[in-house]
């Protein structure tokens, strides 16, 4: 077995694509160019018992803990735009296409896929697998509500398609939504069709002193964020509408959307709580980690923050607080400075972990895909 792995490792060295993300180091990587090729790789991996991780730009690999698989499968050679139907508001892409490319293409048509803001280097495959959303989810809902169709190379080595490139569809089980946030546990996402939104003609950013009150007073803003710099309401609509809404909120209006940077620091985490508990969550973060940069999403219930490496005690306290408030704290990285055993990637497993294990086993019978990534997994 180890001998075979050694041979495979050496063979794979030769197939290595040039643009391997730094996070992977010199581990073996293959980059299929079609869904069928990806399925073939996964079939062999299952047969040989080789563990597999998936990688796009490598920016979200820390979610669910560090992974050291026998083999990485990269989306770098599957980075084509398959189809854009501007008049039907749909876009079909391969997983390696970056968010920057997508928004540039759509911008020309005044449309948007409402992807995470300010992360042009990330790939759509990574965003879908991680289940990540942008700040504008307050207005448009999370990314998972816009994934209409996926093609998946499964852990048992077949190519399957789920959903359809249509905005409304109840034909069969919605496997495409199940793939969103699955962290590679079901297979390699080889194609994605997204529902698009028209861009509002006018945007504005309004600083506010009390973001919770501003949220309650404003009809459907794009986002209401709070950072250490203050609170901000983001508006979109016709000129008259945005003008009226901004005027009602106060002075200092900026035209356009001035998004804050996502917090960076040694240990990035995400605090997720029921929306009503968000103001309390912000107070708790301020108290426990008075220096840590954060961005809090009012009305959504997410606080993005990055704490120092020596804050394991505070992180554990924060997690206990979050779980009592009906939420979670999720780690996004920093395992080299604060180990996964000192502060685990996930807290308590979800109540449906038993069902989840059976579903994962149905798509990855050999148990080789992203082992240990999902919370509550036995592997």
């Amino acid at each position: 077995m180890t001998a075979l792995r050694e041979v495979t490792r050496r063979l794979l060295e030769r197939l290595r694509p040039d643009d391997v993300p730094e996070a992977i180091g010199d581990a073996p990587v293959v980059a299929p160019s079609t869904a069928d090729e990806a399925a073939e790789v996964l079939r062999h991996a299952a047969e040989e018992g080789l563990t597999v991780g998936f990688v796009g730009a490598g920016t979200r690999l820390g979610l669910g803990g560090p992974l050291e698989p026998d083999l990485w499968v990269s989306s770098s050679r599957m980075a084509r735009v398959v189809d854009h139907q501007p008049a039907d508001l749909t876009l079909t892409v391969e997983p390696g296409v970056t968010l920057g490319e997508i928004e540039e293409l759509l911008g020309a048509h005044r449309q948007s896929a409402i992807l995470p803001e300010g992360r042009p280097e990330e790939t759509i495959g990574g965003v879908v697998a991680a289940g990540a959303s942008g700040f504008r989810r307050l207005r448009y809902g999370p990314t998972r509500d816009r994934v209409l169709e996926v093609v998946l190379a499964t852990g048992y080595g077949e190519v399957v398609r789920a959903g359809a490139p249509l905005v409304k569809n109840v034909t069969g089980y919605d496997l495409s939504r199940l793939v969103v946030g699955s962290l590679g546990s079901l297979g390699f996402v080889a194609r994605i069709c997204l529902k698009l939104w028209p861009e509002p003609p006018v945007h504005a950013t309004v600083p506010v002193t009390d973001p919770a009150a501003a949220l309650a007073a404003t009809y459907r803003p794009l986002a209401v964020l709070e950072t250490r710099e203050g609170g901000f309401v983001y508006l979109g609509g016709t000129e008259a509408q945005v003008g009226a809404q901004a005027a009602a909120l106060g002075a200092g209006v900026r035209v356009g959307l001035a998004w804050p940077d996502r917090p960076t620091g040694p240990v990035p985490v995400e605090l997720r709580v029921p929306a009503r508990a968000l103001p309390e969550a912000v107070r708790t973060v301020r108290r426990l980690l008075p220096e840590a940069p954060f961005v809090a999403e009012h009305g959504v219930g997410v606080v993005h923050l990055a704490g120092p490496a020596d804050a394991d005690e505070e992180f554990r306290t924060l997690r206990r607080w979050a779980e009592r408030a009906g939420g979670v704290v999720v780690r996004l990285g920093g395992y080299d400075v604060l180990s996964a055993s000192e502060f685990p990637p996930w807290g308590a497993p979800p109540p449906w972990a038993g069902l989840q294990r059976r579903v994962v086993a149905a798509f990855d019978p050999a148990g080789v895909l992203a082992p240990g990534k999902l919370p509550g997994g036995l592997r």
Partner: protein, 471 residues
């Protein structure tokens, strides 16, 4: 003990029915198929539901969850003698979180009742199927129901945060969470729309939507169906997503006018009911834009609702469409295909042509904004040969939709009715993946068997059937 006695020992005799008359009443939903019922139970808690599931397992019969039975695809119709678990008694609204805009509700709560109960909070449950006066939230979860206002707000799945599920083993498990992006696999997303095949939903955490501060409702009349359809395509392409965009053709408009007298233009070949909602300034601009596009396609009449009463009347016309048909024809057959919104004109033309060729009477009322067609054939099944002609035409209508890049169902579900058409849109491998998912939830095949997937979907028994052709 026999099945009924066993069930009565848990629920009492009043909530267990097995009289032949009851079994006949519950043998069908609002679709065209019927099936055999062993007994009917009305649990009031998740624990009682779980006990019923276990008793059925011991008796070796399947379980079929049921809400109000307004489903149109036969999802709640058994294929073999089954225990029908009717959720209508679990109709409590447990808690409403106004600030977080969520509520925990029983699956038996009637859709419209929920929004009515919320009236004082300024919030509502966005999915608004035309059957909302009678269908249940549990049924909406079962079918991932849509409604006119799902164009902008998304269908039921976008409004369900978590469910409490009784599994086929009688376990009770909460799937999903109140916080955003629950960790782990999003099993909630596949339970919604699973037509009662993955378990019985006994509690639902719904997301509530803020009532819009302003609403504009327009009724637009057109000289041709094509002009109305082209207007829809252009509205969507122009960067505007209205709150609702519904279409009715002349036969439908006439049927509705006879029924509710809403003042629809009966001389128009087709009408569009368009609604825009939101900030007053935005509403004004969007209503003007819709009117401009409609006129550029030759709209012959434009009526704007002056107040809430007129708006309610215009909507009453749309929402009573099926009732109006039921009044004029003994039977009707309804499809639910979806096509890309850019192909509406050609697919509608083809559907009219099919109806004319088969000599059947066709009416159209549908969710035009998201390309969700409802060609409706009214007929009299007692006339010899008529049902056959209707079914032949219906089959062709599905095929033209699929050939235009469309699919089988946008909101009613697959159930029994469209199960054997799944091979038109999915390959054998696609169906096998769906069957794997189902098997993970229900290895015994006793949770609402015979629905959604055609027999032989799982690859190891694929040899038994020809399998799908894919697209």
């Amino acid at each position: 003990m026999d099945l009924v006695a066993e069930l009565e020992s848990v629920l009492g005799s009043e909530r267990v029915r097995a009289h032949p008359l009851d079994r006949r009443v519950f043998a069908k939903d609002a679709g065209v198929k019927t099936g055999p019922v062993a007994a009917i139970v009305f649990p009031e808690t998740a624990e009682e539901t779980a006990s019923c599931v276990r008793i059925a397992a011991e008796a070796g019969i399947p379980v079929v969850p049921r809400g109000a039975g307004t489903g149109l695809a036969g999802g709640a119709v058994p294929v073999e003698p089954a225990l029908l678990v009717v959720m209508t008694r679990m109709n409590r609204i447990f808690e409403v979180d106004e600030q977080g805009r969520t509520a925990w509700v029983g699956p038996g709560v009637i859709n419209l009742e929920l929004s009515k109960q919320l009236a004082s909070t300024g919030l509502h449950f966005a999915p608004d199927p035309s059957s909302q006066q009678s269908c249940t939230i549990g049924g909406n979860v079962g079918t991932n129901a849509g409604g006119p206002h799902c164009l902008a707000e998304g269908t039921t799945v976008a409004h369900i945060l978590a469910v409490e599920l009784v599994t086929v083993d009688g376990e009770i498990v909460v799937v999903g969470a109140e916080y955003p992006d629950p960790i782990g696999l999003d099993l909630r997303a596949v339970i919604v729309g699973s037509e009662g095949t993955l378990g019985i939903v006994t509690r639902v955490l719904v997301k509530l939507t803020e009532n819009p501060p302003a609403v504009g409702t327009l009724l637009l009349g057109f000289p041709t169906v094509d002009a109305a359809a082209a207007t829809v395509s252009e509205i969507i392409a122009s960067g505007l997503v209205p709150a609702a965009l519904e279409m009715m053709d002349r036969p439908m408009v006439r049927a509705v006018e006879n029924f509710v007298h809403a003042g629809y233009p009966t001389d128009a070949a087709a009408v569009l009911l368009a609604e825009v909602a939101g900030h007053p300034e935005g509403v004004r601009a969007e209503a003007e834009m819709i009117e401009r596009i409609a006129r550029s396609h030759g709209a012959t009449s434009v009526r704007t609702a002056a107040d809430d009463a007129e708006r309610a009347l215009l909507w009453k016309g749309r929402k009573s469409a099926f009732g109006a048909i039921a009044q004029s024809a003994p039977d009707y057959y309804l499809h639910d295909t979806v096509v890309p919104r850019t192909r509406l004109v050609e697919v509608l033309d083809a559907i009219y042509e099919i109806a004319a060729r088969h000599g059947i009477s066709l009416l159209n009322v549908f969710h035009a904004g998201d390309g969700n067609l409802h060609p409706l054939v009214s007929f009299d099944a007692s006339r010899p040969g008529e049902l056959d002609r209707v079914l032949a035409a219906a089959d062709e209508m599905v095929r033209v939709s699929v050939e235009a890049g469309g699919t089988l169902s946008g909101e009613h579900g697959i159930g029994l009715e469209k199960r054997d058409l799944m091979g038109l849109v999915f390959s054998a491998d696609d169906l096998d993946a769906q069957a794997r998912l189902r098997e993970a939830f229900d290895p015994t095949g006793r949770m609402n068997p015979g629905k959604v997937l055609p027999e032989g979907s799982r690859c190891f028994d694929r040899a038994a059937v020809s399998g799908g052709t894919g697209r």
